[in-house]
């Protein structure tokens, strides 16, 4: 009998152990929503999933995952690359400008306005007052400029250019309090002080961090680069202290 007990105990322990082992690889025991970098095409909140395709914007109800339903889909006569959301405004980064959509009525997103330019565009982020959009035209035969555009949204029906700054090969970007971080691929990355948007100053640049995109994580930045994943703590002066790196 004792032997049997022992065997049972071992079997039970083994069963528990293997069960634990199965879960330790993945434990998504979490509520909440994901956040994404600035080159994303999906955005989500507690109720809705927003998706941009090359020529459209669609909204899905994700209240119940078993009953996913498309609430609306509007066609966009542009080449859409990225999606950013703040409150009831969606910011679409396209190859010919930034488009603003009001999603107060998720069943019928309405086009508000656009900030247009002629060359290729990359992502856009916003703090509500201003939109920050990078414009990359490196490698083009026209040799157009690579710039960071700051767009005034005080009247979102008539967005206007506040300032434009030269930044070599800009990719993704992220706002962090009074600082703006811009990835530049092979050219590294730059940190700007945007306290006064009409007089933006470069705080520091990091040639060795060949940044593509960013996510703010509390007091840290998660950075994808051409060679790996970098995490860094942001100092009060906007400078970075690298915490870790996973090489690709």
């Amino acid at each position: 009998m004792k032997k049997l007990n022992l065997i049972l105990t071992i079997v039970l322990a083994f069963a528990l152990w293997s069960c634990e082992d199965g879960e330790s690889a993945f434990e998504f025991d979490n509520q909440g929503t994901s956040t994404s970098g600035s080159i994303a095409k999906f955005q989500i909140d507690s109720k809705y999933l927003y998706v941009v395709e090359e020529n459209s914007l669609s909204i899905y109800d994700v209240t119940d995952f078993e009953q996913l339903s498309q609430l609306s889909k509007v066609y966009v006569d542009r080449e859409v690359e990225t999606l950013f959301r703040l409150g009831d405004i969606l910011y679409l980064g396209t190859t010919s400008g930034v488009l603003f959509y009001d999603i107060t009525n998720v069943n019928q997103p309405s086009y508000v306005s656009s900030y247009d330019h002629i060359t290729a565009c990359d992502p856009v982020v916003s703090d509500g007052s201003y939109a920050y959009s990078t414009l990359r035209s490196s490698n083009t035969c026209g040799g157009g400029s690579d710039v960071l555009d700051i767009i005034n949204l005080s009247d979102i029906s008539a967005p206007s250019l506040t300032a434009s700054y030269d930044v070599a090969s800009p990719y993704g970007l992220v706002l962090f309090d009074n600082y703006l971080y811009v990835g530049q691929g092979l050219n590294g990355m730059k940190v700007f002080d945007i306290t006064d948007v009409t007089a933006v100053t470069e705080v520091v640049s990091y040639d060795e961090i060949t940044a593509i995109d960013f996510i703010r994580d509390g007091e840290n930045l998660i950075i994808t680069t051409r060679t790996g994943l970098v995490q860094a703590k942001v100092g009060t002066d906007g400078t970075l202290s690298v915490l870790s790196k996973i090489n690709y």
């Binding site: 026209g142 593509i212 995109d213 994943l229």
Partner: protein, 185 residues
């Protein structure tokens, strides 16, 4: 003689207009310079067998990492057309690559309450991660027009070998040094 002069002027005019048109097109279109000889470029990887398995596997090598996402203490890095890498970021100073979420033809995700919303070709998937680690996959067929990213490399700003549909479905990209890639994104 008069005819010749007119013709010559006409030619000159055409030449000027053509030149202006070429220059205008050059500046207006975002067309990079091609025929650069051997340069680094993305090359499509075509599927040989159409795997439809949605599953969580052990960690895998980065091949064409792209977009990033943060969810709770995890960082996800998309792997072009294959799914995404899962990184346990409980300690940002020592993140651990802990697994891979295999989703065929996937390029974009968003996560809410343990449900991963992911594109898979033309379909939108809602994948619930159950408490026992199993997956409950709901597929909404044909939600996308051309697949969310179509046949483009994971990141913009690179030359790539143009996709040949007859070779199959593109399931990934790898960087190689190739002669005169004719596509750019």
């Amino acid at each position: 003689m008069k005819t010749t002069t007119r013709l010559s002027r006409w030619h000159s005019f055409i030449y000027t207009v053509s030149l202006a048109a070429v220059m205008f097109a050059c500046v207006d279109d975002d067309v990079p310079v091609f025929n650069n000889g051997y340069i680094e470029a993305y090359v499509p990887i075509y599927s040989l067998d159409e795997s439809t398995e949605v599953e969580i596997t052990e960690a895998q090598e980065f091949i064409n990492p792209g977009k990033i996402y943060k969810y709770a203490d995890y960082i996800f890095i998309s792997e072009a057309s294959r799914g995404f890498h899962i990184i346990d970021n409980s300690t940002p100073s020592s993140p651990v690559k802990s697994g891979f979420f295999n989703i065929p033809k996937n390029n974009n995700i968003a996560v809410k309450d343990n449900v991963v919303y992911a594109d898979s070709g033309f379909d939108l998937l809602a994948i619930k991660i159950m408490s026992d680690g199993s997956l409950d996959v709901r597929r909404s067929v044909g939600m996308f027009d051309i697949g969310v990213t179509g046949d483009l490399p994971p990141l913009p700003g690179f030359y790539f070998e143009c996709v040949d549909d007859e070779k199959g479905t593109v399931i990934g990209w790898e960087k190689q040094t190739i002669l005169d890639p004719q596509c750019y994104y």
